[in-house]
Amino acid sequence: MQEVRPMLKLFTAHNSICTQKVFLTLIEKGLPWESEYIDLFKNEQYRPEYLKLNPKGVVPTLIHEGHAIVESTLICEYLDQSFPQPSLVPASAFERAQMRRWSKHIDEGVFEATREISFSAMFRDKMKAMTQEQRNGRYRNIGDPGRRARMISTYELGCGSPFVEQGIFAFEKIFGEMEECLSDGRSWLLGENFSLADINVIPFAARLDYLTLLDVWIKDRPLVAAWWQKAKARPSFSEAIAEFLKEDQIRAMAASGSRIKSEIAAKHAEILKTRQSALGAVA
């Protein structure tokens, strides 16, 4: 019997966290795909042909059987439904709800958090080198006004932006929940099986790790640290994330993250204190 190879095409960008989620899923499932690169710094994501596929103008977009599938979390679920084996989604409805809670947590808190923190560390300097006109052009291209306001604030205030602070808090919350979830001895977030819940978190932890910032949140969380070592040791991690990065990109991430590390750590300590007192008030 001839092997039927699925025709999957993925629009992607270099070092895009959301694309890394989809890469992890494709590789864990052993699915071949073809990538087409979009240069975000040349604004290729806002070309009319691409906006037809992906109205938000973001990566990734999966093309399969003539359908444009958008939103990385939903692309991963789509892939699991279209190619069920090996399964990355648990069998029971209750565990699936847990899985989707992790991805919701990522999509509605951690995703923005990572963007603000990465932006402060890496892209702010790149934007400082632009003319005001070029920067305004970039802001205008962002359709979502909330997202535009966050970018302007983070550009102007760096780590002093309230959005960076919200980001630090969002990571504090998810890593705290992970430590608690893993405390019953389970290997992965949903139990003994690696799932889309893990896949959703891995690229975000990886970004913090490359920025040398991860230990701000996990140095006192041994279970998350052990989970992270296991996740990094999976072959899919090197194939989906590490091997795509060049030596100089890795060095640049480490250098730019190190520059803001003390500021991030100080803000983190401050947040822990205020949150502690807030918790005290409830009790």
Binding site: E65, H67, I69, V70, E71, T73, L74, E77, Y78, Q81, S82, A93, F94, R96, A97, R100, R101, K104, D107, E108, P145, G146, Q166, V282
Partner: protein
């Protein structure tokens, strides 16, 4: 056994009640007033964000209305509320994602800027600030603060209006292909969207879809469904209608201007 913690006017609770009615699942109800009881420590143990609804099924606690919709369909597959093909399922999930990430806050902004505002304005500023600041979701508290203070002049309103308009244009586009949002059958996408369209109607903003006859037809079609009648209209008491009666000032002229400027 199924237990639902909810509130009659909560949009997130309404979509879950519609799905449960579609599945003809009996449920033991716990009604919350949302005037402080959502932040009671006992309830926050079930739902750490202090929001409704919460579904408890044989002891398992499920939170987040969009996830509850998926859960109900997976736990009670008949009649199905998800389409069969992965591409159509993706469309349903996109609606839920649009609602979770944009529409829900937009709906809160519009409602608190209009119908729910007078209740707060009867209190002192310290009193109402204390009430809204109890919510753990800080960004939502900030939206509420702004619209209680400034009504439809709040800086957040224009984006909220645009988000609603965007959802209406998604609907118009999808309804070209079938009577329901994901094709020929009523699905979780319809369950999820109905409460937001209802809310616009209650806020006298039904004119937002006057140029989209397919949306108007869909609304007539779904509001007559037995599940929607049972889950929403039969449940609304005079106290639930009260905030939406005699809206003053009429929100439409201002919203119409914002739409023209956008």
């Amino acid at each position: 056994m199924l237990e639902l913690y909810h509130n009659i006017n909560s949009v997130c609770a309404q979509k879950v009640r519609i799905a449960l009615a579609e599945k003809a699942q009996p449920v033991k109800e716990h009604l919350l007033t949302l005037q402080g009881d959502q932040n009671d420590p006992a309830y926050m143990k079930l739902n750490p964000n202090g929001v409704v609804p919460t579904l408890v099924h044989d002891g398992n606690v499920i939170v987040e209305s969009s996830l509850i919709l998926y859960y109900i369909d997976e736990a009670f597959p008949d009649p199905p509320l998800m389409p069969k093909t992965p591409a159509a399922r993706h469309r349903v999930r996109l609606y839920n994602k649009l609602i979770d990430e944009y529409m829900h806050n937009a709906c809160t902004i519009m409602t608190f800027a209009t119908a729910f505002r007078p209740r707060f304005l009867k209190m002192s500023r310290e009193q109402w600030l204390a009430e809204i600041n109890k919510a753990p979701l800080k960004r939502r508290a900030e939206y509420k603060r702004s619209v209680i203070e400034h009504g439809l002049d709040s800086e957040f309103v224009i984006d909220a209006v645009i988000q609603h308009q965007k959802m209406i244009s998604w609907m118009a586009e999808d309804l070209r292909h079938g009577p329901y949002l994901a094709g020929d059958a009523f699905t979780n996408a319809d369950c999820a969207v109905i409460p937001y369209i209802l809310r616009l109607e209650l806020l006298k903003l039904g004119a937002m879809w006057q140029r989209e006859p397919a949306v108007a037809d869909w609304w007539t079609r779904v509001r007559d469904r037995p599940s929607v009648k049972a889950a929403i209209f039969d449940r609304m008491l005079e106290t639930d209608w009260a905030p939406f009666r005699n809206l003053a000032p009429d929100p439409w002229p201002k919203v119409q201007n914002l739409l023209k400027a956008a």
